[in-house]
Protein backbone atom coordinates (compact mmCIF):
# COMPACT_ATOMS: atom_id res chain seq x y z
CA UNK A 1 0.00 0.00 0.00
CA UNK A 2 2.71 2.42 1.04
CA UNK A 3 4.72 1.53 -2.04
CA UNK A 4 1.80 2.18 -4.33
CA UNK A 5 1.28 5.57 -2.70
CA UNK A 6 4.93 6.47 -3.15
CA UNK A 7 5.51 5.02 -6.57
CA UNK A 8 2.08 4.66 -8.12
CA UNK A 9 0.52 1.37 -9.18
CA UNK A 10 2.78 -1.64 -9.60
CA UNK A 11 3.75 -2.53 -13.15
CA UNK A 12 1.77 -5.75 -13.01
CA UNK A 13 -1.36 -3.86 -11.95
CA UNK A 14 -0.95 -1.50 -14.87
CA UNK A 15 -0.52 -4.42 -17.24
CA UNK A 16 -3.67 -6.01 -15.87
CA UNK A 17 -5.57 -2.80 -16.46
CA UNK A 18 -4.24 -2.55 -20.01
CA UNK A 19 -5.37 -6.11 -20.60
CA UNK A 20 -8.81 -5.03 -19.48
CA UNK A 21 -8.86 -2.27 -22.06
CA UNK A 22 -7.52 0.67 -20.06
CA UNK A 23 -5.23 2.52 -22.43
CA UNK A 24 -4.58 5.20 -19.78
CA UNK A 25 -2.77 2.57 -17.74
CA UNK A 26 -0.58 1.95 -20.74
CA UNK A 27 0.16 5.68 -20.80
CA UNK A 28 1.45 5.38 -17.25
CA UNK A 29 3.74 2.56 -18.30
CA UNK A 30 5.05 4.66 -21.16
CA UNK A 31 5.77 7.58 -18.84
CA UNK A 32 7.45 5.25 -16.38
CA UNK A 33 9.76 3.61 -18.91
CA UNK A 34 10.17 6.08 -21.74
CA UNK A 35 13.54 7.44 -20.58
CA UNK A 36 15.02 4.01 -19.97
CA UNK A 37 13.79 2.50 -23.22
CA UNK A 38 14.89 5.54 -25.18
CA UNK A 39 18.30 5.38 -23.51
CA UNK A 40 18.72 1.72 -24.42
CA UNK A 41 17.73 2.43 -28.02
CA UNK A 42 19.99 5.45 -28.27
CA UNK A 43 22.98 3.68 -26.80
CA UNK A 44 22.38 0.72 -29.08
CA UNK A 45 21.78 2.63 -32.28
CA UNK A 46 23.84 5.79 -31.75
CA UNK A 47 21.34 7.93 -33.60
CA UNK A 48 18.70 9.93 -31.80
CA UNK A 49 16.09 10.16 -34.53
CA UNK A 50 16.29 6.43 -35.17
CA UNK A 51 16.35 5.71 -31.44
CA UNK A 52 13.15 7.66 -30.94
CA UNK A 53 11.47 5.84 -33.78
CA UNK A 54 12.54 2.45 -32.51
CA UNK A 55 11.61 3.32 -28.92
CA UNK A 56 8.12 4.20 -30.11
CA UNK A 57 7.97 0.88 -31.93
CA UNK A 58 9.01 -0.86 -28.74
CA UNK A 59 6.02 0.55 -26.87
CA UNK A 60 3.68 -0.17 -29.74
CA UNK A 61 4.91 -3.76 -29.92
CA UNK A 62 4.47 -4.05 -26.17
CA UNK A 63 0.93 -2.73 -26.42
CA UNK A 64 0.10 -5.20 -29.16
CA UNK A 65 1.63 -8.08 -27.24
CA UNK A 66 0.19 -7.10 -23.88
CA UNK A 67 -2.49 -9.77 -24.18
CA UNK A 68 0.25 -12.40 -24.16
CA UNK A 69 2.04 -11.05 -21.14
CA UNK A 70 1.54 -13.41 -18.24
CA UNK A 71 3.88 -11.86 -15.77
CA UNK A 72 6.52 -14.56 -15.95
CA UNK A 73 9.11 -11.84 -16.44
CA UNK A 74 9.24 -8.38 -14.95
CA UNK A 75 7.56 -5.77 -17.09
CA UNK A 76 10.83 -3.84 -17.27
CA UNK A 77 12.75 -6.92 -18.39
CA UNK A 78 10.12 -7.68 -20.99
CA UNK A 79 10.30 -4.13 -22.37
CA UNK A 80 14.10 -4.20 -22.47
CA UNK A 81 13.98 -7.53 -24.29
CA UNK A 82 11.71 -6.06 -26.94
CA UNK A 83 13.96 -3.00 -27.19
CA UNK A 84 17.13 -5.03 -27.63
CA UNK A 85 15.50 -7.18 -30.29
CA UNK A 86 14.11 -4.22 -32.18
CA UNK A 87 17.48 -2.47 -32.11
CA UNK A 88 19.16 -5.61 -33.36
CA UNK A 89 16.72 -5.85 -36.24
CA UNK A 90 17.28 -2.20 -37.10
CA UNK A 91 21.02 -2.68 -37.13
CA UNK A 92 20.79 -5.69 -39.38
CA UNK A 93 18.45 -3.94 -41.73
CA UNK A 94 20.57 -0.85 -42.02
CA UNK A 95 23.76 -2.83 -42.41
CA UNK A 96 22.20 -4.64 -45.29
CA UNK A 97 20.76 -1.49 -46.72
CA UNK A 98 24.19 0.10 -46.62
CA UNK A 99 25.31 -2.64 -48.99
CA UNK A 100 22.60 -1.57 -51.41
CA UNK A 101 20.43 -4.64 -51.22
CA UNK A 102 17.26 -3.01 -50.04
CA UNK A 103 14.93 -0.30 -50.95
CA UNK A 104 15.62 3.02 -49.26
CA UNK A 105 13.96 3.66 -45.97
CA UNK A 106 12.69 7.17 -46.28
CA UNK A 107 13.44 9.67 -43.65
CA UNK A 108 15.74 7.51 -41.59
CA UNK A 109 19.33 8.46 -41.06
CA UNK A 110 21.95 5.85 -41.69
CA UNK A 111 23.23 4.58 -38.35
CA UNK A 112 26.38 3.26 -39.94
CA UNK A 113 27.82 6.64 -40.69
CA UNK A 114 30.83 7.40 -38.58
CA UNK A 115 29.77 10.83 -37.44
CA UNK A 116 27.19 10.28 -34.78
CA UNK A 117 24.46 12.52 -33.62
CA UNK A 118 26.30 12.94 -30.37
CA UNK A 119 28.64 15.30 -32.11
CA UNK A 120 25.73 17.24 -33.60
CA UNK A 121 23.01 17.54 -31.05
CA UNK A 122 19.81 18.81 -32.51
CA UNK A 123 17.03 18.08 -30.06
CA UNK A 124 16.30 20.18 -27.08
CA UNK A 125 15.53 17.75 -24.24
CA UNK A 126 18.81 15.92 -24.07
CA UNK A 127 20.93 18.35 -26.03
CA UNK A 128 22.46 19.76 -22.87
CA UNK A 129 23.69 16.38 -21.80
CA UNK A 130 25.55 15.88 -25.04
CA UNK A 131 27.57 19.03 -24.58
CA UNK A 132 29.74 17.15 -22.23
CA UNK A 133 32.98 15.98 -23.70
CA UNK A 134 32.96 12.99 -21.40
CA UNK A 135 29.55 11.98 -22.66
CA UNK A 136 30.70 12.20 -26.24
CA UNK A 137 33.66 10.00 -25.44
CA UNK A 138 31.44 7.49 -23.67
CA UNK A 139 29.00 7.42 -26.58
CA UNK A 140 31.78 6.94 -29.09
CA UNK A 141 33.37 4.22 -26.99
CA UNK A 142 30.07 2.37 -26.86
CA UNK A 143 29.88 2.58 -30.62
CA UNK A 144 33.17 0.76 -30.87
CA UNK A 145 31.92 -2.21 -28.90
CA UNK A 146 30.46 -5.28 -30.54
CA UNK A 147 26.64 -5.20 -30.39
CA UNK A 148 26.43 -8.02 -27.85
CA UNK A 149 28.89 -6.26 -25.59
CA UNK A 150 27.07 -2.98 -26.01
CA UNK A 151 23.73 -4.54 -25.05
CA UNK A 152 25.00 -6.11 -21.90
CA UNK A 153 26.97 -3.14 -20.69
CA UNK A 154 24.08 -0.76 -21.31
CA UNK A 155 21.66 -2.98 -19.42
CA UNK A 156 24.03 -3.40 -16.50
CA UNK A 157 25.87 -0.11 -16.16
CA UNK A 158 23.42 2.36 -17.62
CA UNK A 159 20.15 0.72 -16.64
CA UNK A 160 21.50 -0.89 -13.48
CA UNK A 161 19.78 -4.19 -14.11
CA UNK A 162 20.54 -7.26 -12.03
CA UNK A 163 22.40 -10.17 -13.59
CA UNK A 164 19.29 -12.37 -13.49
CA UNK A 165 17.19 -9.79 -15.27
CA UNK A 166 19.86 -9.25 -17.91
CA UNK A 167 20.03 -12.99 -18.47
CA UNK A 168 16.27 -13.01 -18.89
CA UNK A 169 16.23 -10.00 -21.22
CA UNK A 170 19.00 -11.32 -23.45
CA UNK A 171 18.05 -14.98 -23.25
CA UNK A 172 21.45 -16.09 -22.04
CA UNK A 173 22.72 -17.86 -18.95
CA UNK A 174 23.69 -15.89 -15.88
CA UNK A 175 27.24 -17.20 -16.18
CA UNK A 176 27.38 -15.87 -19.71
CA UNK A 177 26.20 -12.51 -18.44
CA UNK A 178 29.11 -12.39 -16.01
CA UNK A 179 31.79 -13.40 -18.48
CA UNK A 180 30.45 -11.27 -21.32
CA UNK A 181 30.06 -8.28 -19.04
CA UNK A 182 33.65 -8.64 -17.90
CA UNK A 183 34.92 -8.69 -21.49
CA UNK A 184 32.67 -5.79 -22.46
CA UNK A 185 33.83 -3.65 -19.55
CA UNK A 186 37.48 -4.47 -20.16
CA UNK A 187 37.14 -3.51 -23.81
CA UNK A 188 35.28 -0.31 -22.97
CA UNK A 189 37.83 0.59 -20.32
CA UNK A 190 40.66 0.19 -22.82
CA UNK A 191 38.86 2.44 -25.31
CA UNK A 192 37.98 5.08 -22.73
CA UNK A 193 41.43 5.13 -21.22
CA UNK A 194 42.78 6.55 -24.48
CA UNK A 195 41.06 9.86 -23.79
CA UNK A 196 39.58 9.73 -20.32
CA UNK A 197 41.35 9.62 -17.00
CA UNK A 198 39.90 8.14 -13.82
CA UNK A 199 39.83 11.57 -12.20
CA UNK A 200 37.54 12.81 -14.98
CA UNK A 201 34.73 10.63 -13.81
CA UNK A 202 35.55 9.15 -10.41
Amino acid sequence: MLLSVLHGPADQDLVRRVQQGDSEAFGQLVLRYQDRIYTVCLRQLGDRALAEEVAQDVFLSAFRAMGNFRGEAKVSTWLFRIAINQCKNQKLYHRRRARGRHEPLEGRPDPDRPAREFAHPGRAPDAGVHKSEAERLVAEALEELEPDYRSIIVLRDVEDMAYDDIADALGIAKGTVKSRLHRARSQLARILSRNLKPEDVL
Partner: protein, 310 residues
Protein backbone atom coordinates in the same frame (compact mmCIF):
# COMPACT_ATOMS: atom_id res chain seq x y z
CA UNK B 1 44.53 -16.47 -5.62
CA UNK B 2 46.79 -15.77 -8.58
CA UNK B 3 46.60 -12.64 -10.69
CA UNK B 4 44.95 -14.32 -13.66
CA UNK B 5 42.21 -15.71 -11.46
CA UNK B 6 41.68 -12.35 -9.81
CA UNK B 7 41.75 -10.51 -13.11
CA UNK B 8 38.82 -12.53 -14.41
CA UNK B 9 36.83 -11.66 -11.34
CA UNK B 10 37.36 -7.91 -11.32
CA UNK B 11 34.04 -7.16 -12.96
CA UNK B 12 32.04 -9.32 -10.57
CA UNK B 13 34.11 -7.90 -7.71
CA UNK B 14 33.14 -4.42 -8.81
CA UNK B 15 29.47 -5.43 -8.71
CA UNK B 16 29.81 -7.08 -5.34
CA UNK B 17 28.73 -10.30 -6.96
CA UNK B 18 31.49 -12.58 -5.69
CA UNK B 19 31.17 -15.03 -2.83
CA UNK B 20 32.59 -13.67 0.41
CA UNK B 21 35.77 -15.71 0.27
CA UNK B 22 36.59 -14.70 -3.28
CA UNK B 23 35.91 -11.06 -2.53
CA UNK B 24 38.61 -11.06 0.13
CA UNK B 25 41.03 -12.83 -2.18
CA UNK B 26 40.48 -10.37 -5.03
CA UNK B 27 40.89 -7.45 -2.62
CA UNK B 28 44.21 -8.85 -1.49
CA UNK B 29 45.36 -9.43 -5.07
CA UNK B 30 44.52 -5.84 -6.00
CA UNK B 31 46.45 -4.58 -3.00
CA UNK B 32 49.61 -6.43 -3.84
CA UNK B 33 49.63 -6.13 -7.65
CA UNK B 34 49.88 -2.57 -9.07
CA UNK B 35 49.06 -3.73 -12.61
CA UNK B 36 45.92 -5.41 -11.38
CA UNK B 37 45.01 -2.31 -9.41
CA UNK B 38 45.47 -0.17 -12.52
CA UNK B 39 43.18 -2.49 -14.45
CA UNK B 40 40.63 -2.37 -11.67
CA UNK B 41 40.73 1.43 -11.65
CA UNK B 42 40.17 1.47 -15.39
CA UNK B 43 37.10 -0.75 -14.98
CA UNK B 44 35.79 1.48 -12.21
CA UNK B 45 36.30 4.49 -14.42
CA UNK B 46 34.44 2.90 -17.32
CA UNK B 47 31.51 1.91 -15.13
CA UNK B 48 31.39 5.31 -13.44
CA UNK B 49 31.48 7.05 -16.81
CA UNK B 50 28.61 4.94 -18.08
CA UNK B 51 26.51 5.54 -15.00
CA UNK B 52 27.09 9.25 -15.11
CA UNK B 53 26.85 9.87 -18.83
CA UNK B 54 24.81 6.95 -20.11
CA UNK B 55 21.20 7.79 -19.20
CA UNK B 56 19.30 10.34 -21.27
CA UNK B 57 15.76 11.63 -21.25
CA UNK B 58 13.26 10.78 -23.92
CA UNK B 59 12.58 13.61 -26.35
CA UNK B 60 9.88 16.08 -25.48
CA UNK B 61 6.44 14.85 -26.43
CA UNK B 62 7.59 11.27 -26.76
CA UNK B 63 4.87 9.72 -24.61
CA UNK B 64 2.19 11.77 -26.37
CA UNK B 65 3.39 10.49 -29.74
CA UNK B 66 3.37 6.91 -28.48
CA UNK B 67 -0.13 7.27 -27.11
CA UNK B 68 -1.35 8.84 -30.34
CA UNK B 69 -0.02 5.78 -32.17
CA UNK B 70 -1.67 3.52 -29.62
CA UNK B 71 -4.99 5.27 -30.09
CA UNK B 72 -4.70 4.62 -33.81
CA UNK B 73 -4.27 0.90 -33.21
CA UNK B 74 -7.16 -1.34 -34.17
CA UNK B 75 -6.87 -3.05 -30.80
CA UNK B 76 -6.70 0.09 -28.75
CA UNK B 77 -9.71 -0.92 -26.72
CA UNK B 78 -7.77 -3.82 -25.30
CA UNK B 79 -7.68 -7.48 -26.03
CA UNK B 80 -10.30 -8.31 -23.44
CA UNK B 81 -12.75 -5.95 -25.02
CA UNK B 82 -11.89 -7.40 -28.41
CA UNK B 83 -12.44 -10.84 -27.05
CA UNK B 84 -15.82 -9.92 -25.63
CA UNK B 85 -16.81 -8.35 -28.89
CA UNK B 86 -15.79 -11.43 -30.79
CA UNK B 87 -18.01 -13.68 -28.74
CA UNK B 88 -20.80 -11.14 -28.87
CA UNK B 89 -20.78 -11.58 -32.66
CA UNK B 90 -20.80 -15.35 -32.70
CA UNK B 91 -24.38 -16.60 -33.02
CA UNK B 92 -25.69 -18.16 -29.82
CA UNK B 93 -26.98 -21.09 -31.87
CA UNK B 94 -23.50 -21.85 -33.15
CA UNK B 95 -22.12 -21.85 -29.65
CA UNK B 96 -24.94 -24.06 -28.45
CA UNK B 97 -24.25 -26.56 -31.23
CA UNK B 98 -20.53 -26.49 -30.46
CA UNK B 99 -21.18 -27.00 -26.76
CA UNK B 100 -23.56 -29.86 -27.50
CA UNK B 101 -20.98 -31.48 -29.77
CA UNK B 102 -18.35 -31.29 -27.06
CA UNK B 103 -20.76 -32.81 -24.57
CA UNK B 104 -21.59 -35.67 -26.96
CA UNK B 105 -17.92 -36.37 -27.58
CA UNK B 106 -17.20 -36.20 -23.90
CA UNK B 107 -20.10 -38.48 -23.04
CA UNK B 108 -19.04 -40.98 -25.71
CA UNK B 109 -15.52 -40.90 -24.41
CA UNK B 110 -16.70 -41.49 -20.87
CA UNK B 111 -18.82 -44.39 -22.00
CA UNK B 112 -15.95 -45.97 -23.89
CA UNK B 113 -13.70 -45.42 -20.93
CA UNK B 114 -16.25 -47.02 -18.66
CA UNK B 115 -16.19 -50.15 -20.77
CA UNK B 116 -12.59 -50.73 -19.99
CA UNK B 117 -11.83 -51.52 -16.39
CA UNK B 118 -8.15 -50.75 -16.85
CA UNK B 119 -8.86 -47.30 -18.25
CA UNK B 120 -10.95 -45.11 -15.99
CA UNK B 121 -13.39 -42.77 -17.64
CA UNK B 122 -11.68 -39.74 -16.16
CA UNK B 123 -8.57 -40.49 -18.16
CA UNK B 124 -10.44 -39.47 -21.29
CA UNK B 125 -11.64 -36.17 -19.98
CA UNK B 126 -10.32 -33.19 -21.92
CA UNK B 127 -7.49 -31.25 -20.32
CA UNK B 128 -8.49 -28.23 -18.28
CA UNK B 129 -8.99 -24.98 -20.15
CA UNK B 130 -6.53 -22.15 -19.79
CA UNK B 131 -9.05 -19.73 -18.37
CA UNK B 132 -6.69 -18.71 -15.59
CA UNK B 133 -4.16 -17.44 -18.08
CA UNK B 134 -4.18 -13.63 -18.08
CA UNK B 135 -3.83 -13.80 -21.85
CA UNK B 136 -7.25 -15.39 -21.93
CA UNK B 137 -9.83 -13.32 -20.12
CA UNK B 138 -11.79 -15.00 -17.37
CA UNK B 139 -15.02 -16.57 -18.42
CA UNK B 140 -16.90 -14.20 -16.14
CA UNK B 141 -15.78 -11.33 -18.36
CA UNK B 142 -17.95 -12.49 -21.22
CA UNK B 143 -20.74 -10.06 -21.94
CA UNK B 144 -23.51 -12.60 -22.16
CA UNK B 145 -24.31 -15.15 -19.50
CA UNK B 146 -25.26 -17.63 -22.22
CA UNK B 147 -21.83 -17.62 -23.85
CA UNK B 148 -19.07 -17.85 -21.32
CA UNK B 149 -18.16 -21.51 -21.78
CA UNK B 150 -17.22 -20.88 -25.38
CA UNK B 151 -13.79 -19.50 -24.65
CA UNK B 152 -11.98 -22.66 -23.59
CA UNK B 153 -14.03 -24.82 -25.92
CA UNK B 154 -12.98 -22.80 -28.91
CA UNK B 155 -9.32 -23.35 -28.17
CA UNK B 156 -9.78 -27.07 -27.67
CA UNK B 157 -11.92 -27.58 -30.72
CA UNK B 158 -9.67 -25.73 -33.09
CA UNK B 159 -6.34 -26.61 -31.66
CA UNK B 160 -7.14 -30.08 -30.46
CA UNK B 161 -5.29 -29.20 -27.33
CA UNK B 162 -5.66 -27.06 -24.29
CA UNK B 163 -2.03 -26.08 -24.41
CA UNK B 164 -1.43 -22.42 -23.98
CA UNK B 165 -0.81 -20.53 -27.18
CA UNK B 166 2.73 -19.61 -28.15
CA UNK B 167 3.85 -16.72 -26.03
CA UNK B 168 6.06 -14.54 -28.14
CA UNK B 169 6.17 -11.76 -25.65
CA UNK B 170 7.33 -13.76 -22.67
CA UNK B 171 9.71 -15.95 -24.60
CA UNK B 172 13.40 -15.42 -24.18
CA UNK B 173 14.46 -14.88 -27.80
CA UNK B 174 17.75 -16.71 -27.77
CA UNK B 175 16.59 -19.76 -25.88
CA UNK B 176 15.28 -22.52 -28.03
CA UNK B 177 11.75 -23.25 -26.93
CA UNK B 178 10.45 -26.66 -26.11
CA UNK B 179 8.84 -28.60 -28.89
CA UNK B 180 5.11 -28.28 -29.24
CA UNK B 181 2.47 -29.71 -31.46
CA UNK B 182 3.28 -28.68 -35.03
CA UNK B 183 -0.37 -27.84 -35.58
CA UNK B 184 -0.73 -25.72 -32.51
CA UNK B 185 -3.33 -23.04 -32.98
CA UNK B 186 -3.29 -19.67 -31.34
CA UNK B 187 -6.49 -18.59 -29.70
CA UNK B 188 -7.76 -15.21 -30.76
CA UNK B 189 -7.45 -13.70 -27.30
CA UNK B 190 -3.72 -14.32 -27.39
CA UNK B 191 -3.23 -12.38 -30.60
CA UNK B 192 -1.15 -9.63 -29.17
CA UNK B 193 0.63 -8.42 -32.25
CA UNK B 194 0.30 -6.41 -35.40
CA UNK B 195 -1.55 -9.16 -37.19
CA UNK B 196 -4.39 -9.64 -34.80
CA UNK B 197 -7.53 -10.90 -36.51
CA UNK B 198 -9.63 -7.89 -37.26
CA UNK B 199 -13.00 -8.68 -35.75
CA UNK B 200 -14.35 -5.39 -36.99
CA UNK B 201 -13.69 -6.18 -40.62
CA UNK B 202 -16.12 -7.10 -43.35
CA UNK B 203 -15.33 -10.77 -42.95
CA UNK B 204 -15.64 -10.81 -39.20
CA UNK B 205 -18.43 -13.34 -39.26
CA UNK B 206 -16.84 -15.65 -41.79
CA UNK B 207 -13.26 -15.29 -40.75
CA UNK B 208 -13.09 -18.08 -38.22
CA UNK B 209 -10.60 -20.38 -39.90
CA UNK B 210 -7.21 -20.48 -38.30
CA UNK B 211 -4.29 -22.00 -40.10
CA UNK B 212 -1.70 -24.00 -38.28
CA UNK B 213 1.82 -23.16 -37.29
CA UNK B 214 4.50 -25.60 -38.31
CA UNK B 215 7.94 -25.66 -36.89
CA UNK B 216 10.71 -26.49 -39.34
CA UNK B 217 14.45 -26.52 -39.28
CA UNK B 218 16.51 -25.71 -42.33
CA UNK B 219 20.26 -26.28 -42.34
CA UNK B 220 21.97 -24.68 -45.30
CA UNK B 221 25.34 -23.63 -46.54
CA UNK B 222 23.97 -20.57 -48.33
CA UNK B 223 24.29 -17.45 -46.17
CA UNK B 224 21.71 -15.75 -48.39
CA UNK B 225 18.99 -18.22 -47.44
CA UNK B 226 16.93 -15.58 -45.69
CA UNK B 227 16.72 -13.49 -48.84
CA UNK B 228 15.46 -16.50 -50.76
CA UNK B 229 12.86 -17.30 -48.15
CA UNK B 230 11.76 -13.69 -48.18
CA UNK B 231 11.12 -13.89 -51.92
CA UNK B 232 9.54 -17.31 -51.60
CA UNK B 233 7.07 -16.02 -49.03
CA UNK B 234 6.21 -13.07 -51.24
CA UNK B 235 5.68 -15.32 -54.23
CA UNK B 236 3.10 -17.20 -52.15
CA UNK B 237 1.28 -14.04 -51.20
CA UNK B 238 2.86 -14.00 -47.78
CA UNK B 239 5.57 -12.22 -45.87
CA UNK B 240 8.48 -12.84 -43.60
CA UNK B 241 8.43 -11.81 -39.97
CA UNK B 242 10.70 -12.17 -37.01
CA UNK B 243 9.76 -14.01 -33.86
CA UNK B 244 8.25 -10.85 -32.44
CA UNK B 245 5.88 -10.69 -35.41
CA UNK B 246 7.68 -7.69 -36.86
CA UNK B 247 8.54 -7.45 -40.54
CA UNK B 248 11.98 -8.89 -40.97
CA UNK B 249 14.43 -7.65 -43.54
CA UNK B 250 16.59 -10.50 -44.71
CA UNK B 251 20.22 -10.47 -43.81
CA UNK B 252 23.14 -12.76 -44.40
CA UNK B 253 23.91 -15.49 -41.94
CA UNK B 254 27.53 -15.70 -40.95
CA UNK B 255 29.86 -17.77 -38.84
CA UNK B 256 29.39 -15.30 -35.99
CA UNK B 257 25.63 -15.18 -36.46
CA UNK B 258 24.79 -18.62 -37.85
CA UNK B 259 21.28 -19.14 -36.50
CA UNK B 260 18.12 -17.20 -37.18
CA UNK B 261 14.43 -17.75 -36.68
CA UNK B 262 11.91 -16.50 -39.17
CA UNK B 263 8.19 -16.82 -39.61
CA UNK B 264 6.79 -17.21 -43.10
CA UNK B 265 3.18 -16.15 -42.96
CA UNK B 266 0.99 -17.14 -45.91
CA UNK B 267 -2.71 -17.48 -46.65
CA UNK B 268 -4.04 -20.89 -45.63
CA UNK B 269 -4.69 -21.93 -49.23
CA UNK B 270 -1.06 -21.28 -50.18
CA UNK B 271 0.46 -23.19 -47.30
CA UNK B 272 0.73 -26.60 -48.94
CA UNK B 273 2.60 -25.16 -51.93
CA UNK B 274 5.02 -23.34 -49.70
CA UNK B 275 5.49 -26.40 -47.51
CA UNK B 276 6.38 -28.49 -50.56
CA UNK B 277 8.98 -25.95 -51.63
CA UNK B 278 10.47 -25.68 -48.19
CA UNK B 279 10.73 -29.45 -48.03
CA UNK B 280 12.43 -29.48 -51.41
CA UNK B 281 15.02 -27.12 -49.89
CA UNK B 282 15.65 -29.67 -47.17
CA UNK B 283 13.48 -28.24 -44.41
CA UNK B 284 12.73 -30.88 -41.85
CA UNK B 285 10.03 -31.11 -39.24
CA UNK B 286 10.77 -29.83 -35.80
CA UNK B 287 11.41 -26.23 -35.07
CA UNK B 288 10.86 -23.46 -32.60
CA UNK B 289 7.08 -23.56 -32.49
CA UNK B 290 6.46 -23.30 -28.78
CA UNK B 291 7.63 -19.76 -28.26
CA UNK B 292 6.95 -18.54 -31.74
CA UNK B 293 4.68 -15.86 -33.05
CA UNK B 294 0.94 -16.19 -33.03
CA UNK B 295 -1.14 -16.37 -36.16
CA UNK B 296 -3.78 -14.20 -37.68
CA UNK B 297 -7.03 -15.64 -38.92
CA UNK B 298 -6.84 -17.15 -42.34
CA UNK B 299 -3.09 -17.52 -42.27
CA UNK B 300 -0.73 -20.40 -41.92
CA UNK B 301 2.72 -20.01 -40.52
CA UNK B 302 6.01 -21.78 -40.98
CA UNK B 303 8.29 -20.97 -38.11
CA UNK B 304 11.75 -21.84 -39.30
CA UNK B 305 14.99 -22.19 -37.51
CA UNK B 306 17.74 -21.45 -40.01
CA UNK B 307 21.16 -22.87 -39.35
CA UNK B 308 24.19 -22.03 -41.42
CA UNK B 309 26.41 -25.04 -41.91
CA UNK B 310 30.12 -24.53 -41.44
Amino acid sequence: MDTFFAKNRLSAYLDGALPEGETAEVSAAIERDPALKAEYDQLRMAVAALRRHGPVSAPEGFSARVMAAVEAEPGQQGVVVQFRRFFARVPVEALAVAAAAVLVVFAAGSQLGGDSPSEPALAKAPPPPVATDPAVPPVADAPSESRPAAAPERGETLGGSAEQPPDLANAAPSVLPQQASPKQIAMPAAQGNAYVPEWEGDNAQQDTSFGGMEGLTLSVSDPEVMQKLYMLAESHGGRMLDEANQPLRPYELSASDPVARVLLLVPVDRASGLRAQLQSFGARAGGPVGAGPTLAAGNSGFFLQLELLE
